[in-house]
């Protein structure tokens, strides 16, 4: 039986997807490719250690894919949080994908599914209100975080062009937020005080991990389908999200915010480089039409659902979450009534 190989199984989404595939296809149908073994709770999952950053990783991957009869590869080894050692991130994300695509093409893999982010479109003032897959990703972004992802996508597609047997799907996920998610966004949401650029309130998309997994599973079913945006049902404005999570907001004029954020990041305290301020000023909202046409994927959760699910997970003691409290008391009443 042909196997599905997953890279980055130690990451949140990779790990969740691994569990889901194990449940669907059995432990023998999947192969974890990562530098750390999958959790011991997953019995019998085959694991191969490959470091994507090492030279010669493509040959090693070729051997692994041949030996394990892999016909589908899910590449989820990407950083959701910007890293200070940009050189390592570049090696893993851009060069790692190059190695992976080369190994997959040589091993005759049929389908390479790449995890990407809607952030690659870049938050620009000129963006249309809904970015379709035809919009160009921002290859000259000031953020190495974005550039590496754009490069990774380009590597995958260039191999797919040269080796027509290798089909590529790139799922551009909106910002993940939900139970179990730990990214720099969630670190910002854990603070009491959140600085925001003064006078801006763009729409943001927060994707519930369940929806992300559903889309990935559908994409594996449907086969290669090119670039597809995976977005939540509805967007939410940034300030609505922050106010719903009861943050104290400190507006900072943006000409001051950029150098301050850069200083903060450079001194090792900040959560993200200053380029991310763009995402708090301008919208970067993707359109999910193609996902529903090509994959038959319709998100079940809205951005607000994702936010509330995350808040309920992160701050279970907080009493301000009226909907949850109401639902709980309702079920209690029903129990008593029945």
């Amino acid at each position: 039986m042909a196997r599905i190989a997953i890279t980055g199984t130690a990451s949140f989404l990779g790990g969740r997807l691994l569990r889901r595939l194990v449940a669907a296809r059995g432990a023998d149908g999947v192969l974890a490719v990562d530098i750390t073994p999958p959790p011991t709770t997953l019995h019998g999952v085959r694991h191969r250690m490959v470091d994507l950053t090492l030279p010669g990783a493509d040959r090693r991957l070729l051997e692994v894919f041949r030996e394990e009869e892999v016909d589908t590869v899910v590449h989820a080894a990407f950083f959701t949080t910007p890293r200070r050692d940009a050189a390592y991130a570049h090696e893993l994300e851009s060069i790692g994908t190059l190695h992976l695509a080369a190994g997959a093409a040589a091993a005759g893999v049929r389908h390479l599914l790449l995890r990407s982010f809607t952030g690659v479109y870049g938050a620009r003032g000129q963006n249309p209100s809904l970015l379709t897959e035809e919009s160009k990703p921002e290859a000259d972004s000031g953020l190495s975080w974005v550039r590496d992802k754009v490069e990774a996508e380009a590597h995958a597609f260039s191999f797919s062009r040269r080796y027509p047997g290798l089909g590529v799907t790139v799922l551009r996920f909106a910002t993940l937020l939900g139970p179990g998610v730990h990214t720099f966004y969630t670190r910002l949401l854990s603070k009491r005080v959140v600085p925001v650029p003064l006078g801006y309130d763009p729409l943001v998309q927060l994707l519930h991990p369940d929806d992300a997994l559903e889309a990935a599973a559908l994409a594996l079913e449907k086969g290669p389908s090119g670039v597809v945006n995976v977005v939540p049902r509805a967007s939410i404005t940034l300030l609505t999200a922050l106010h719903l999570s009861d943050k104290v907001i400190v507006p900072v004029p943006h000409p001051v915010a950029y150098p301050l954020a850069e200083l903060w990041w450079g001194s090792g305290v900040g959560e993200a480089p200053s380029g991310f301020i763009d995402y708090a000023r301008f919208p970067c909202v993707a359109d999910g039409e193609k996902a529903s046409v090509k994959l038959g994927f319709r998100a079940r959760h809205s951005s607000r659902d994702a936010l509330e699910a995350y808040l309920a997970y992160r701050f279970p003691e907080a009493a301000h979450r009226a909907p949850e409290a109401r639902r709980a008391s309702e079920s209690e009443a029903h129990e008593v009534g029945a």
Partner: protein, 343 residues
């Protein structure tokens, strides 16, 4: 009659539950409390203003000493949701926000500029439409006034979404304000998507060249971009409604420009008017001229078909003819106008 007919089954159902579970009075009471809580939270949702007052009162009564991060967050939250709804549409339009700022712009519309709108019947009552206006007045007041004219004077009371210049969509404060009042950024993707949804759009093909005109160039239409609006109209088959705005050129007469001042702040130009920047914030008060907004007869482009959009000569020709029509409408109105202040 029907109301009575509805009441009977509910009462009987309630009676039945009572009969079935005599000792469950406690549970019923609890359910009643839950219902009341639900009602209360619904009320809170609909009456955010009250919760703002409550939050303010709480903040004042607790004083500076009683201020905690949590109470500050609650206060900020109440302040924000007092004039924003928790949900927007796909393009960022916020109904509550529009409601909140409407009185101010209604004042500008009815009292300050005494806008006189004619020919609103030319705006399609349903389906897509492209309202093409002349741009002027430094700040995008003209777009908001066209929006209000269609909202107030058109029988269908349609929302006309304005396509905002990139520069306005980049400026702090103005950017969220425009997007929440229903404007979207001016680019062909947005225009085509909205027209295909059958929405009414307002565009200013002159762009930055129009809005920052000097005073001596007033009411002379600048070049109509590269005809992007015509291409969108051809692709979607939407009728083009020319709309001449007279009066907006004089609200901030630009007597000079100091673009080097605005450049570090990302402004494409920095206007000098008789009042700005000399009077500081007072210089931002627009002059109370008399406005007229005339909608002309719609120009149909369906006969060229969507493939016409690929023909630059045709696109240019249509753009030019729309420009001429609009210029004639403006000139006609100017010839009839006796005074800048009284029309």
């Amino acid at each position: 009659m029907s109301g009575q007919a509805k009441v009977v089954p509910i009462a009987s159902r309630r009676a039945r539950t009572k009969r079935r579970e005599p000792p469950a009075g406690d549970a019923l009471l609890r359910r009643r409390v839950v219902d009341l809580e639900q009602e209360l939270s619904d009320l809170r949702g609909s009456e955010r203003r009250e919760s703002l007052l409550v939050a303010l009162a709480r903040a004042v009564s607790s004083g500076a000493g009683g201020m905690t991060w949590a109470s500050l967050a609650r206060l900020q939250r109440a302040l924000y949701f007092a004039w924003h709804s928790e949900e927007t549409d796909k393009f960022g339009a916020d109904a509550r926000f529009a409601e909140t700022i409407e009185p101010f712009f209604d004042f500008l519309y009815a009292v300050w500029w005494r806008v006189e709108a004619t020919g609103t019947e030319h705006v399609p009552a349903s389906g897509p439409g492209l309202v093409v206006c002349n741009h002027s007045g430094v700040l995008p007041y003209d777009g908001l006034m066209v929006q209000l004219a269609i909202r107030h004077e058109h029988p269908a009371r349609r929302l006309c979404r304005m396509l905002a210049l990139d520069m306005f969509a980049l400026l702090p404060v103005l950017a969220p304000m425009l997007s929440k009042s229903g404007s979207v950024r001016a680019n062909p993707e947005n225009a085509e998507r909205l027209l295909r949804q059958g929405e009414l759009l307002g565009v200013f093909p002159e762009g930055v060249k129009g809005v920052g005109k000097r005073f001596h160039e007033r009411y002379k239409l600048a070049r109509f971009g590269r005809g992007g609006f015509v291409r969108v109209a051809l692709r979607t088959g939407a009728p083009i409604v020319p709309c001449a705005i007279v009066g907006a050129e004089e609200i901030h007469p630009v007597i000079g420009k100091a673009d080097w001042v605005g450049r570090p702040f990302g402004l494409p130009y920095f206007p000098l008017t008789p009042t700005f920047p000399w009077l500081g914030p007072l210089g931002l008060v627009p002059l109370p001229t008399k406005w007229s907004i005339d909608f002309g007869e719609p120009i149909e482009v369906t006969q060229y078909g969507p493939e016409g959009a690929e023909d630059p000569i045709l696109v240019n020709r249509i753009a030019e003819s729309v420009r001429e029509t609009l210029q004639q409408m403006i000139d006609g109105r100017l010839a009839r106008r006796r005074s800048v202040w009284f029309g």
